[in-house]
Subunit: 121 residues, 2 copies
DNA sequence: CTTTTGATTCGACATCTGTCGATACAGAGC
DNA sequence: GCTCTGTATCGACAGATGTCGAATCAAAAG
């Protein structure tokens, strides 16, 4: 999934330098679409900024006035977009973000090669 | 509209450093949502990468197998999100992107302060 | 003024999306 | 084994979204 993104986007093809191809646009828009909801954006941020870089669903549910199934749904959207992944450890399921994906998106948005691919994370 | 974004996002509050507030998430998700469609992403890229940094609708319509009204609709979404603006000169209407907005988004995505606010553009 | 051309707006339609309640699943502890 | 607790899945529903054809508007050219 990550490889697919890399294939499509390459390491340095900012939006403003040359027109995106159809496939590039499809792939990138899937990611932006996943982030195009306030709840999902907060979930992403809560997970990313949580101690240890991960958070269990129990850490997230209490923040919103939404039911469990709804939180689960949003986490699934983020997961299927490749922005986060979850791992079960005992009773709880812990989620963490994929920082390289965020860095790739940032690279697409910036006109110059100001962004390293973020692979250091 | 730009000022509003700046108010809400500030200059340096990356997603991964601390949790987004509700209003921040609402404002940012509006932008990501606008980019969450392949056609709109290509439009954005076509405009941004076009000679002179601007493109008229006639430059854009031919690229897609979509009717005029549909292209107009997508341009309106991008316009209302604050990502582009259009100006009529004679017969044609020219669109250009707001690079500072893209830079702001990139800044939110990156963990460190790697991105200048892009106000140099 | 009428016509022509570029672009938007309007109205309608099928599809997608966010939300919920009910249900099912997976470990932990008894 | 059973039960309890944390998550996910399923099914349904209201509301949003992408697309189109028809109508409208704006500037230019006869």
């Amino acid at each position: 999934m990550l490889a697919e993104l890399a294939d499509v986007v390459g390491c340095c093809s900012p939006l403003v330098r040359e027109p995106l191809t159809g496939p590039q646009a499809v792939e990138l828009s899937r990611l932006f679409k996943a982030m195009g909801d306030p709840v999902r954006l907060r979930l992403l941020s809560l997970i990313a900024s949580h101690a240890g870089g991960e958070a269990c669903v129990c850490d997230l549910s209490g923040v919103f006035e939404l039911t469990g199934p709804t939180i689960s749904h949003h986490l699934k959207v983020l997961r299927e977009a490749g922005l986060i992944s979850g791992e079960r450890r005992g009773t709880w399921i812990y989620y963490r973000v994929h920082p390289e994906v965020l860095a790739t998106l940032a690279g697409v948005l910036l006109p110059a090669g100001l962004v390293s691919t973020g692979m250091g994370a």
